[in-house]
Amino acid sequence: MRLTTLLQEIERSPGPVTGIELASRLGITNSEIESMLHALRAAGRLGADVAERPKMDSCSSSGSCSMTCPGPDECSLTVNLQVSGLQIRSPASPG
């Protein structure tokens, strides 16, 4: 299985897709998909979907959370889904 095939399969996906879905579509195992995702990350073609995190210092001075809220990343009430996202990236041409 070529990495390019996996990349094309991801590009064809309408929105988010899981490793299990990709494995089922391409007829390979989930661990093979994970290895290939690592390879695509190492090649710079997939990157972590890290969104800019908000600053909480401008948070409201009223309300139940504002007095103790340390921010969404540290907020103890935040449900941690343990999902990380990978988005396709196009490395810029050296030219």
Partner: protein
């Protein structure tokens, strides 16, 4: 000059654990030059030599795309550490060896730590590290960095490798790429500035791979532009000759090389399907995924609403009985009994804060169940399943991530919309996220469901959660067809953790943090709100009376609440106590319950029996706690339908009786319908002031008002449908 050791590795490979083992307590924290990313450095001594050691940011490879990758790549290229220790996840060799290969190609002196070797052994992966050692001409050490296994061997290997010349790895990238690399190497060698950056073959490969950090460097030096132009021409040439993008052609060859190497190291060629994969296929199944998610939710809420009932009663009895008596006795000792101070403490603070603290066992159970689901990895599957369903109706792909966060608290959920790609997706998700039932609404559901639906309490609470999702999906669907039309969704891979047994310590930390956060909220926001409500109740505006000695209906709170009550009359809860509770609920949803406790308990008759002594109270608190524990254990089997205990108590507490009577009276005898409508209203109207502020910060004032007014209209309509629809059908 001390030798410098850099510790590199993929995220989660145990890099930081090994760095900590090497450097011990002697660590310095700073920032990488020009970056906000923290830099950790330290030192260790082996034999007579002291080494400086630097912890590089986690990276999958040396093609700089993210800030972390750029830092690692630039540090290795510019600082040229004497030795690089590359930490590898032994249970995922194919994924981890890209970095090892690239560091070897870059010509660095390297020691490889086969970390988490215990995990690999448990999974039956038998690794022959001599294959890797011979192929790369490096030392390969088995480690379990978390436990310090292999640390001394790593130090010895570092010391030995100092005396050895580095032998760069050469991977064959095929005739087309190799021809272009050869040409580019000649250009690089011809320019001393570029040639000094690293070994020419690696520089050429990095240029062909589109490395941003290297491009930035070349743009800053005189001869760099010519080399960049040559590299661009080579990239185009490779793409034309191979019909693949240049960087993909490089990645394919490297991946093939690594796959072959791993099969030689482990003796296996085919990848196996793990039990986690098999479970995943069921839990994320297109047809079964959603029913399984609903069953899991039902179990969570059954445990939350039913199993905790004995402890809920215990806290309620303790606060309304002994604690209130002790407070009054204490005030009597300092000469403050019988006045407005006693009223503030008993009717304001204890009724308000105590009314919310009663629900600590409920929240504890909810947080425990959520923590178990998180730590096993189920929550990520639930997100994937619901995400697929929501995409089908036009709601953006990643919307369910913030929506799941909303089960805990709406404020971080609104901020979590930043993970979405377009402003349209962010706004749409921000508008529907508040309909997810946050933890603060749970006390309202449990209070009313206990009073009006004692036999189907957990089903009613479950229904509220499902209704929240349904309304969010419906509103999202309508908006994506009208004001916020759908755009092409962005492709995106969701990477989920493997299923695992929950770790007791992790679960306990999560539960404790969340429960203590709720208790802190009761001690701050709820306390403040309770005092404000008490002040407004004590302030006479209509009729006679003086401060703290007025009819509640004639108080400032009563007058304002009466003004709002007619709006709610068609919904079956148009009495001023009910409208007042909902008004105060704008501050936070727990305040609905604390206000109810203050309003309904103010005029309640006190027990005329003889007060027990302090010792009798203490003994009663202790024995009732033990009894609550026993009853809870006996209630657990009821989750699967085995009833060993009947906790149904036909006797309402004072608060319950007052609430029941109020809803019966406001609805013309249809108290259950009105209570159901009230819960729907609480579910759908503005979650809290903090959520409104977060929404304004993210989406602006105009959309904030759209959100607040929209939620009110939807809440009113929902409650109207429940009450008036139920009446028409002859229910309640």
């Amino acid at each position: 000059m001390r030798p410098v050791v850099a510790v590199a590795g993929c995220p989660n490979a145990g890099k930081t654990s090994l760095f900590n083992q090497l450097s011990g307590a002697r660590q310095k924290v700073g920032n990488w030059p020009g970056q906000t990313v923290e830099q950790y450095s330290g030192e260790f001594t082996h034999g007579a030599t002291t080494f400086d050691v630097v912890d590089l940011p986690g990276t999958y490879g040396l093609v700089a795309v993210s800030a972390e990758e750029a830092i690692a790549a630039t540090y290795l290229a510019v600082e040229k550490p004497d030795v690089v220790v590359t930490v590898v996840d032994s249970s995922n060799l194919t994924g981890s060896l890209h970095l090892v290969a690239q560091i070897a190609e870059a010509g660095h002196r390297q020691v490889v730590a086969l970390n988490m070797i215990d995990v690999a052994e448990r999974r039956g992966i038998d690794i022959d590290e001599s294959v890797l050692a011979e192929t790369l001409d490096v030392e390969v050490i088995r480690t379990v960095a978390r436990k310090g296994v292999g640390t001394e061997e790593i130090k010895a290997a570092i010391a030995r490798s100092l005396g050895k010349p580095a032998r760069p790895l050469t991977i064959d990238y095929g005739p087309v790429v190799e021809r272009h690399v050869g040409g580019l190497i000649e250009d690089i060698i011809a320019d001393p500035d570029v040639a000094g950056r690293g070994i020419p073959r690696w520089t050429a490969l990095q240029l062909l791979a589109g490395d941003r950090a290297l491009r930035g460097y070349l743009q800053s030096i005189p001869g760099g532009h010519a080399i960049l132009e040559a590299a661009a021409a080579d990239r185009d040439g490779i793409a034309a000759e191979t019909t693949f993008e240049c960087e993909m052609e490089l990645a394919e060859h490297r991946f093939e090389w690594i796959t072959r190497l791993v099969s030689e190291m482990t003796g296996t060629i085919t990848a196996t399907t793990t039990w986690s994969d098999r479970v995943d296929r069921v839990l994320t199944h297109r047809l079964f995924g959603i029913p399984i998610f609903l069953v899991v939710m039902w179990v969570v809420l059954r445990v939350t609403a039913d199993v905790t009932a004995p402890y809920l009663d215990w806290v309620d009895t303790t606060i309304s009985g002994p604690v209130s008596r002790w407070a009054v006795d204490l005030l009597g000792l300092v000469g403050l009994a019988g006045g407005w101070v006693e009223s503030l403490v008993v009717d304001g603070v204890l009724a308000g804060v105590g009314g919310v603290l009663v629900f600590v066992p409920v929240l504890f159970a909810l947080y425990l169940m959520l923590a178990l689901l998180e730590d096993t990895g189920y929550m990520s599957r639930a997100a994937a399943v619901m995400d697929r369903a929501m995409r089908a109706v036009g709601i953006p792909g990643k919307a369910f991530l913030p929506m799941m966060v909303g089960f805990g608290c709406t404020v971080p959920a609104i901020y979590a919309t930043r993970t979405l790609d377009s402003s349209r997706d962010r706004l749409l998700t921000g508008l529907i996220t508040p309909f997810m039932s946050c933890g603060a609404r749970l006390p309202v559901y449990v209070l009313l469901a206990t009073i009006f639906f004692a036999d189907a309490k957990s089903m009613v609470v479950f229904g509220m959660y499902v209704l929240g999702i349904a309304v969010a999906v419906l509103i999202g669907f309508l908006m994506s067809r009208t004001a916020l039309r759908e755009e092409d969704p962005a492709p995106f891979v969701m990477v989920m953790p493997e299923f695992r047994m929950p770790n007791a310590r992790t679960v306990w930390i999560l539960v404790w943090q969340r429960t203590s956060s709720f208790i802190k909220g009761a001690g701050t926001t709820i306390l403040a709100a309770s005092i404000v409500v008490w002040l407004l109740l004590a302030l006479p505006l209509g009729g006679g009376g003086s401060f703290a000695d007025t009819e509640v209906e004639d108080s400032a709170f009563g007058i304002v609440s009466k003004g709002a009550a007619p709006v709610l009359q068609p919904l079956g809860f148009g009495e001023w106590e009910q409208s007042g509770s909902l008004l105060s609920g704008f501050v936070a949803k727990e305040v609905v319950v604390s206000t109810m406790a203050q309003l309904y308990l103010t005029d309640a008759e006190s027990d005329t029996g003889a007060d027990p002594t302090f010792g009798e109270d203490l003994a009663e608190v202790g024995s009732s706690f033990v009894a609550a524990g026993r009853d809870t254990l006996l209630t657990i089997p009821s989750v699967i339908g085995l009833d060993f205990i009947d906790l149904a108590d036909d006797t309402d507490t004072t608060l319950q009786a007052a609430v029941r009577s109020s809803f019966d009276s406001s609805s013309g005898g249809r108290g259950s319908l009105a209570a159901l409508g009230f819960m729907v209203f609480v579910l759908l109207y503005t979650p809290c002031m903090a959520a409104v502020a977060a929404f304004r910060q993210e989406f602006g004032t105009k959309w904030m008002w759209v959100s607040v007014i929209g939620q009110f209209v939807i809440a009113w309509s929902g409650a109207f449908l429940v009450f008036q629809g139920g009446r028409l059908l002859g229910l309640g």
